[in-house]
Homo-oligomer: 340 residues x 4
């Protein structure tokens, strides 16, 4: 049914850095994937603990967190997912490269250009030679073929992927894009902070890093614009999952942008909707889009995705499917949004 026989119907995967929200979400999806066998879920701090003792919502899962050396992980796995902070991820990617297929959910290999990386992330990049080995893991933009053959996948940032999917049909025809994007609190990770303190976050909206957010270069690249042509207003919203974004796009005079319906015709997780609602995508790998033409050179684009799924772990599994030769939607499409 997936287009191949019994041969290698099982993919052995490991998750390095299981204890954060991204690692947990990957595990949620991989547990529901018909062809996956978990090799290792690792954490230095929780080495030896059953996953259920750290996270009681997983107390039914028979897995123990471990901390094997990287060679062991490579040997035992077909695919390794890295859920590490940027900078830390670099070293691990370098150590694993050539030994196993890598899907890196950090930012370290998303940008082609060292200088841009170092400017936005304020840290050196120690493996510039590896940058062109990494394929940017946005299947709808990069194309399934390139991903299928990659050794290192640089999984996109959550804001970045949504903004790109919204703008991509207009790539090369954009004069200016003003984007206001609201994210849920799960985007801040599992560590408590002032910004995720419930007494305020529960009814707050607040923007941050306006025109300075690290996802800006990812957006500009696929939209084929400079940072000066983009205003990007990331905003914290009072909900847990999802990003809801609105873009006011000015097209270049006499340009002929593509139609999103054509561009995403064969993209199984892209849904063009009459209107976009955040509640329609929670828990799923779908990205909902709406394009509203204002006049010949102005379009209001809205989009939504679940930052932990399509914006992170779901996209990573989609990339894994392509690498392993499974149908792109395996283990993902049957997971309908949690509604309500």
């Amino acid at each position: 049914m997936d287009g191949f026989g019994d041969f290698k119907m099982v993919t052995r995967v490991s998750i390095i850095g299981i204890t954060g929200y991204t690692g947990l979400e990957l595990l949620r999806l991989l547990l529901a994937h018909p062809h996956v066998e978990i090799a290792h879920v690792t954490s230095r701090a929780s080495d030896g603990e059953p996953i259920g003792s750290i996270y009681p919502h997983l107390s039914h899962v028979d897995l123990t967190v471990s901390n094997p050396d990287l060679d062991q992980i490579a040997t035992d796995s077909d695919i390794v997912f890295l859920c590490l902070p940027h900078k830390t991820a670099q070293d691990t990617v370098a150590a694993l490269h050539g030994k196993v297929k890598i899907i890196d959910l950090s930012a370290d290999f998303r940008l082609d250009d060292v200088a841009t990386y170092e400017k936005y992330y304020a840290t050196p990049h120690n493996y510039p030679d590896l940058l062109d080995k990494a394929v940017y893991g946005a299947p709808e933009i990069v194309g399934a073929e390139k991903i299928a053959q990659a050794d290192i996948i640089a999984n996109p940032g959550c804001f970045a992927l949504l903004a790109q999917l919204m703008l991509f049909p207009f790539a090369g025809t954009i004069e200016k894009a003003d984007i206001m994007a609201v994210t849920g609190s799960s985007g801040s990770g599992k560590s408590a902070s002032d910004g995720t303190h419930h007494p305020i976050r529960s009814h707050n909206m607040k923007s941050y890093n306006i025109n300075k957010h690290r996802h800006i270069p990812e957006i500009c690249r696929s939209a084929n614009i400079t940072a000066q042509q983009l205003n990007f207003v990331p905003t914290s919203g009072p909900f847990v999952r999802g990003i809801f974004a609105t873009a006011f796009v000015t097209l270049k005079p006499d340009s002929t942008p593509k139609c999103a319906g054509d561009v995403y015709e064969n993209a199984p997780f892209m849904r063009l909707q009459d209107s976009v609602a955040l509640a329609n995508i929670v828990g799923s790998n779908f990205c909902d889009l709406n394009y509203q033409k204002v006049d010949d050179h102005t379009v209001i684009v809205q989009g939504a995705l679940d930052n932990l799924v399509k914006g992170a772990a779901g996209c990573a599994v989609q990339n894994m499917n392509l690498i392993c030769g499974y149908d792109e939607t395996t283990g993902l499409k049957q997971l309908a949004p949690l509604y309500p």
Copy 2:
């Protein structure tokens, strides 16, 4: 792996009454079930509409709502799920009985006694003869064997199932039980009402039907107590999914209650936790429990389940698995809670 070969690996199911939250949740679970094929999803009001045009979160699902006659549904299905209001469900169950296996999510066949039904539901029961054909669909209480052989399953009420699972190990030894149970707004269904109006519900708690709730007779039956031995305080809480209940249980003097760990030893969806947290079960079929002994005859019991899953659709799928001879957990256990 499910204990049988290729023979009849597909179960054809229909959902009568697809447009409410229970019908939708069943569809969500059935779409992820490896052995299910959807025959019909029905609604009188939405006959002919693609499911995605009523519910855009399902716009990727290729299903059209229909309204075939019941014989057609019976012919095309191995299992029919009824997601109809009580009273309406009666007639449909009677019409389908003998033609197809029925899992009724309404209240109409939950109680053995017509008088009790008519008292709590304030409506006549027109099919008293069918009452003893129906098996109460709580596998952990009734036992898998009885369910496997049933023609009609009366799927439990959400509050009722949680309270029963909390009290069941003490059945026969309870002198008194005081229960305070808080439910999410999805329990009120998809129709807007004052009680689910967001400006208030978002930060409100309010009890209703204290000692009058319709689920009381279900609770009393399996706990082996009278309504006079129970105080039941159903309460609306400011969240969407789940029920969180606390029971203060006084045991009879010199009684020796069973240990929950023993009672639920082989129950795959029952999890005994060090403490119960609502957020640990959202979206899943698990029921989390905690028993805290205060003194020789007093126990504080806490429990949580997702009202739409274990409290409705998930339990119904569990019953379907037992009827069809699948492993009880098929299509359910791999669905980890949505966390966060």
Copy 3:
């Protein structure tokens, strides 16, 4: 301290249409106002009922809802607040005009132009002659003097007031403004509806009436732009109180916009903040603003106010203060935001 002696330290006020959220919020503010005496709070449907029996949160308030004729209300009041739906309000304003000072919280007298009103509200205006008797009740824009002398105040729309206060310093210099504004559920009023159904609204964002919202002509007027120069995206957010808006403003070449700090120097409820956060204004009459210059002709403006206070009842009390000769802030400024 309020600039006058003991003479007429009491203002008698009535609220016509007490049972909606706007009427209730007015009552909350007026109960805390040192110079106000409530004459009548009226409702046709609740005539004769103590306010606390309709709204138990007010059970300590000794007021009975009544339904006197308008002449009686005029006789007993110095100020009458109308909290009626548009269209209904027209007739009442016409009947009361000349007999008592009127503060109308409906939309009926906000626009100067009958044709624009009839286009956006899809209903005839029966009192075009009264339109120029009404003063638009935005003190920071219209000026205190005009309001002090008005017989009819047309209190601004909530979205409209926020957008205007954001754009007003740039009036006359704007080439284009793109606004994305997110509102809480209290803006939908007290009647339950699909859009305020808690199971979805609690975690949803969804835009509506894009470029068609009724508040557009109010915004354009004070910003001195046409509707073609504005994109306005009203959006429902998952919180109760407040509006949080982001405007991308393109200024005309060679224009010299005013500085918001200067424009609002003497406006006691306008606060220029380093960044705008919705949680900072809840329950108060403050409007927080932030201006971030991108380049010589581009500014990102953010603003927030409580839709029920500064966006409705609080602004109405501010107008009342000006009419009565009290300090503009009486009964309002001591009400700090509810934080957290």
Copy 4:
């Protein structure tokens, strides 16, 4: 109108420890109090900072945080409110005692018995001699007269006050009380922690310190029961403000409890309601109660109050009013609940 003339219409107050939620809430209420003048608001860490630079929601308030020595505070104040952690508060109370009236919002002087204090708070009490100088600041229970004459007020704990107000009419007649009380996240204070991390807290319920909570001895004292007669289940709820509690009370045989309506007849902030709803008290000093008789010796009691107002700062202002000879409700009763 407050029962006295122009003489001493101003009370000078200081808040020691302004930066927590209790200090902030006191400031909110005191800013709206007609007879209060703020002398000092203090914090060691924020000495010299304008209040608005720490808390932008107060950017309109012209106050600078300072850190004067205690003698200076005593000299400049008629009343000093302490918003310090327990243990720290002890020393400050001892240092200020005899120099100024003290309202201590910590736990340090709530209990009469050193051993009980040391058991529940796990820290020594260094001023046992001062314990009987302190009056427990629950006016409805202790009586206004005792409070009016106190030099030190020990302001009650939030859970404790609600539970006491619920049980007090039954004092001396209670055989057993089982209480399940749900609190908002503001009760955890302003510091971010795992328990207030928005991604989970927003939809979680979880109990903690069952039968071990520090407020238990306060509850037992006024209810005239032992800790063995009480089960107390404090629970975190997914909202910001308020506590909603349910008590299952078993009365002693042949006892004749008082009627709450009589006990609270002259208590202006106690409201007996047909049913209790959390949303009815937010932001106000009201405590709502409901008593539902089950049988001759069983009563279900429900209650709600705002933990930051009646459960802390509002009760403190009520105590201040009594000490200063103002009407008990001054500056409080006009603050209607924030609804919705």
